[in-house]
Structures are given as structure tokens and as C-alpha cells.
């Protein structure tokens, strides 16, 4: 299997991408390099070339030899960048970024691992119903950074919505309050273009959570380069673009529906009975976006939490303690009830 190691031009130690510098840095002599420096280094370095696995159809292989210590390393079928489990040498499995698996775009990590840990601790503190054992620093050590595969879709959407709009007004007549509601048939047709709608390309990453850490800032998107993978875990897609369209359609249909609902004459309330949105001119690009993942296990159930590696947005399944929820509810109910009664009494007595 073809493996690439990006090495320091000064001391030949592994060079990894430094988030704060947005350059590649040697962990040993602390030299820093631009992307072009590493590309020229790789081209001139003959010893860096790879060990081959038993089969050149490398996308199917799951074994490679570490170029630093020579250990045989097993990887999962989708792993595209990883570390040697013995010497921690970062390796990028070149063949998993080639051909159909070569990404078009990439967003580099902007949030460091330390920042991600701090953000998680701040976030979990605000989750009142999260069990206390998940608020401790020890749990944070399990966070890992990953370049996740995404499909970015450009498309044109056209469609319409039908439904009923209602406007109500009230007046009093004698001892009665009269509420009149006028009902209207409404139809809105429209078109819109959408740019780089992301759909994650991994079966392992839950769509709902991946959508929760959006949006990424596309102003910082750049062309893919394997050097960025050095020092991080990365996965290649296992959901192809055709399958990913299955997730694209409802998202874009929902976008256009909401836009149509908010257009034209306004009503006090609306009920949409029919939605028909078609997509055309669909173009797709493969991209790698940075995320941090933390998996907590609570009462035998896995809870996944993601952090956007570019913006720091957090979304996920924080463990939920029913007992904490009940205690909070009872304490709030009783204390608030007593306070409101006291406040009302004071206002009354005054």
C-alpha cells in the first residue's frame, strides 16, 4: 500500500500541519514549512517511497508498513490518514486519495485539539441534564481530530407549495367575543440556486449530528492537498455521490419550501398541504472537512458528539441523566412557585 510521510527538510523527522501557524512544523527541530516546500521535499526523497501490500487495488487493502519503524499496521478500510500505533509516525495512505477518491476541496483545521477540549468542557457544563461524570477532564482525552469526507452539491431547485393561509381578528359583541378567521388558498412557485450543500460521505458519521455542526466557512475552502492530512486521522468516503443525493433532496426541498413560505403575502398562520420541489443541474465535488469526535458511553449506549474543526460549533448526543432532570424539575418548580407567590403577595400587600 502506498504511504506518504511528510518529513522535515532539516532533520527528516515527521512534519505535521500546525493549526495555529497554518504551516507544517517539525515536532523535533520545530522548523516550519510551506506546502510547496514539502511537495519538493517529497519529490526529491527516494527513501520515502512506500511499502506495497499484497494487492495494488489499494482502496480495498487494510494493511501498510510504517516507514519509520517498519511495523505492519492494520487500518480500517476507509482510513486514509493515520498514525503508527507503535511510533506515532503520521502516515497518509496515498492510494486512498487517488482516482475517484481524490478530493477537490479541503478546509484545514483552525481549532486546535486543546481548544476543542476547552470548548467541550464549556459546552457540557451548560448541559444541565448531562451526568456529572461527563463533566470531568478525563473524558475529554478521548477526543480525536478527523478529516471527514463530504460531498458538496451545487444545484438548481424549482417547485411550488400549496396550502391554506389564515388571518384572524376579534371583537366583542355584548357578552361574547367574536373571532373571525378568513381562510385563503395559497400557492407559491419559485426557483433558487444552492451552492456547496454538504452531505457527509461516511456511513459511520450520523447525518443529523454532521448537519448540526454546520455551517463551515467556505471563505477558507482551498484545493485539496495531501500534506494537510499529515498528523490527522482521515477517512475516505464509503457513501458515494449517488447515494448521498438521497440526503441532499430533502434538505434542499426543505430550504426552498421555507423560502417560499416566507415569500408573498403574509398570514397569521399557514398550513402547507403540498410541496413539490425538483432539483436539476446537480454538480458534485468531493471534499474533506475538519471535525473532532468524542464518543461517550453512558448506560451501555453510545453518545456521539462532534465539534466543527474550523468554527468550533458543537453538536451531539450529550448523555442524559433522568435523575438530574427530575431533581432540576422539582427544585425549580417548588422554588419558583414559592418565589412567585411571595412576589405576588408583596405586590398585593404594598
Amino acid at each position: 500500500m502506498a504511504v506518504e510521510n511528510y518529513k522535515c527538510k532539516t532533520c527528516s523527522a515527521p512534519a505535521t500541519f500546525d493549526i495555529k501557524l497554518q504551516k507544517w512544523r517539525c515536532d523535533y527541530c520545530e522548523s516550519t514549512f510551506e506546502k510547496e516546500d514539502l511537495e519538493s521535499s517529497l519529490a526529491s526523497d527516494e527513501t520515502i517511497e512506500t511499502e506495497e501490500g499484497p494487492d495494488n487495488d489499494s482502496a480495498q487493502l487494510n494493511e501498510y508498513r510504517c516507514t519509520a519503524c517498519g511495523a505492519e499496521i492494520l487500518t480500517e478500510g476507509n482510513t486514509a490518514a493515520t498514525f503508527c500505533i507503535y511510533c506515532q509516525n503520521p502516515s497518509v495512505i496515498k492510494s486512498r486519495f487517488e482516482g475517484n477518491f481524490k478530493p477537490r476541496y479541503l478546509i484545514p483545521f483552525k481549532i486546535t485539539m486543546a481548544d476543542a477540549k476547552k470548548m467541550y468542557l464549556q459546552w457540557i457544563k451548560k448541559r444541565i441534564f448531562a451526568p456529572s461524570e461527563f463533566r470531568i477532564k478525563g473524558k475529554v482525552e478521548k477526543i480525536r481530530g478527523l478529516y471527514a469526507p463530504y460531498w458538496l452539491f451545487n444545484c438548481h431547485a424549482a417547485g411550488y407549495i400549496e396550502g391554506e393561509g389564515r388571518n384572524s381578528s376579534s371583537h366583542t359583541s355584548g357578552n361574547y367575543r367574536i373571532t373571525e378567521t378568513k381562510h385563503y388558498y395559497i400557492k407559491r412557485s419559485g426557483v433558487s440556486d444552492y451552492d456547496k450543500v454538504p452531505v457527509d460521505g461516511s456511513e459511520n458519521l450520523p447525518d443529523e449530528i454532521m448537519q448540526g455542526i454546520e455551517p463551515f466557512n467556505y471563505n477558507e475552502i482551498c484545493d485539496f492537498s495531501m500534506q494537510y492530512m499529515s498528523g490527522y486521522l482521515a477517512e475516505k468516503y464509503d457513501v458515494d455521490s449517488e447515494k448521498a443525493k438521497g440526503a441532499l433532496y430533502p434538505r434542499v426541498q426543505g430550504f426552498l419550501r421555507k423560502t417560499l413560505e416566507g415569500s408573498g403575502a403574509r398570514y397569521g398562520s399557514t398550513t402547507i398541504s403540498t410541496t413539490n420541489v425538483n432539483l436539476s443541474d446537480i454538480k458534485v465535488a468531493y471534499a474533506m472537512f475538519p471535525i473532532y469526535i468524542l464518543t461517550n458511553i453512558y448506560k451501555g449506549k453510545k453518545h456521539r458528539l462532534m465539534i466543527n474543526g474550523q468554527t468550533g460549533k458543537i453538536y451531539g448526543e450529550a448523555p442524559f441523566s433522568v435523575m438530574r432532570c427530575l431533581v432540576f424539575t422539582v427544585v425549580m418548580f417548588v422554588s419558583l412557585g414559592l418565589i412567585i407567590a411571595a412576589g405576588a403577595t408583596v405586590l398585593h400587600v404594598i
Binding site: R127, I128, F129, A130, Y160, E164, N175, Y176, R177, I178, T179, E180, T181, K182, H183, Y184, Y185, I186, K187, R188, S189, G190, V191, S192, D193, Y194, D195, K196, V197, G212, E214, P215, G254, L256, K258, T259, L260, G262, G264, A265, K313, Y315, G316, E317, F320, C325, F328, T329, M332, F333, V334, L336, G337, L338, I340, A341, A342, A344, T345, H348
Partner: protein, 242 residues
Amino acid sequence: MLYKLNKIQTVLITAIFFFCVTFDLFAVTDKKRIFDDANLLSSTEQTLIQDELKRISVECDAEFFIVTRKQLENQNIEQLARSIFRENAGSNGSGAVLAISMRERDINYTAFGSVFDRHRKRLDRIREQIGTKMTSQNYYDAFMLFAKLSSSFGFWANYQEFMPMGFMVSAVLTFITVIILIFIHKGINTVDSKTYAVLGSFKLTNAIDKYLRTSTTKTRISKSSSGGSGGGSRSGSSSGKF
């Protein structure tokens, strides 16, 4: 010695006799506080309520009356309450009257003097609470509640009264808070319909708004009125239906 003792005993007995007669006369001439022309109460119930009204009258240094009528004649319910109070407690006294007219289903709570000062902000609430008992035909309970609410003064008495309302509001606020906290437990989804839309690309190609029909709903408003009244004494009244 025997003669002397008998003389002392005689004096004591005489004193006790006079005391009892005076007390009895006082009791016999005790002010009537319940005028149940609508016959809502049994005689036992009337006695119990009369005793209770007498007790709180002494305790609060005020006069409390209940008047029930089968129907109103030549006066409204508030006028009835005020006339009963004026006839039995004078124009400048303190106290409260609960007036009921069965035919009109009218209920009135009128407070005077110091009782009005203490209850001025809750005349409607007192009337409504008693009205609820009247609606369910618990007349004895309704009149006892009048005695209880009229004589409850001070922070603790009011606090107890406001507690059910406080817990009701608290239940709603707690429910909303917990639902919001559960809802945002995962985080907040910030992607909306404009996030990935190309700026300026949306075009509304057709918009139809066609009138279909008008539906009307009627809701009965429960009427109540309250307010102060003129005259030499401070007073306020709350009237409604039960």
C-alpha cells in the same frame, strides 16, 4: 358562721345570676349577621355561620354580613349589599357583605373601611372564589369561605392565598424551561434556508392568494365589575355571576 356563709353565697349567687342574665340578654340581642331569605341554609348551618361571623367580627373589629335573596327588587346586587351594611353597621363602619340573588345568579362582595383597605386588590378574587362554591351549590362552604377570606389579613394569609397561583405559574414556566433545555441538549442547529442559497438567485415565479371562506367563533365573556364607591366611608365592591 352558717348565716354568714349563706349570705356570701347569696351575694355570689346573685352576682352570678345577674351576670348570666346580662350575658343571656346580650346573647339574645346579638346582632343578626345572616339574612337567608333564599333559604339556602339549614338552621344548623345558619347557627354555625352566624357564630363564625360573630367570631371574626370580634377578632377583626369589623362587621360581616351575608344576605341572600330569591330575587332582586328595585335595587341591584351592590345596592342590596350596601343597604344591609348601612342598616346593621352604620355608614362609617368597617366590614364586608356577601350578597347573593338566586334568580339573577348575582353575587356581590363589598368591603368597607379597614377591611376594604386590606382587600382592595383582591375583591374580584374573593368574589370569584366564593362564586365557584356557589356555582357548585356548596352554599355552606361558600359562606364559610367568605368568613375565612374576609378575615385573612397579613403577609402569611395572603401568601397562602397566592400559593396555588404561584405553583400554577411555576408549573408552566418549569415545563417550558425543561422542554427548552431538553431541546437544546444536543446543541442548536444554525443552518437555515438561506445558508447555502446563492445570493439573489431566488425568484418567486407565481403567487396565488384566493379567498375561500370566513369562519366565526363565539366565546362567552364572564363579566365582572369592581370598584370603589362614593360616600363618607372607604369601600369597594365586586359583582359577577355564579
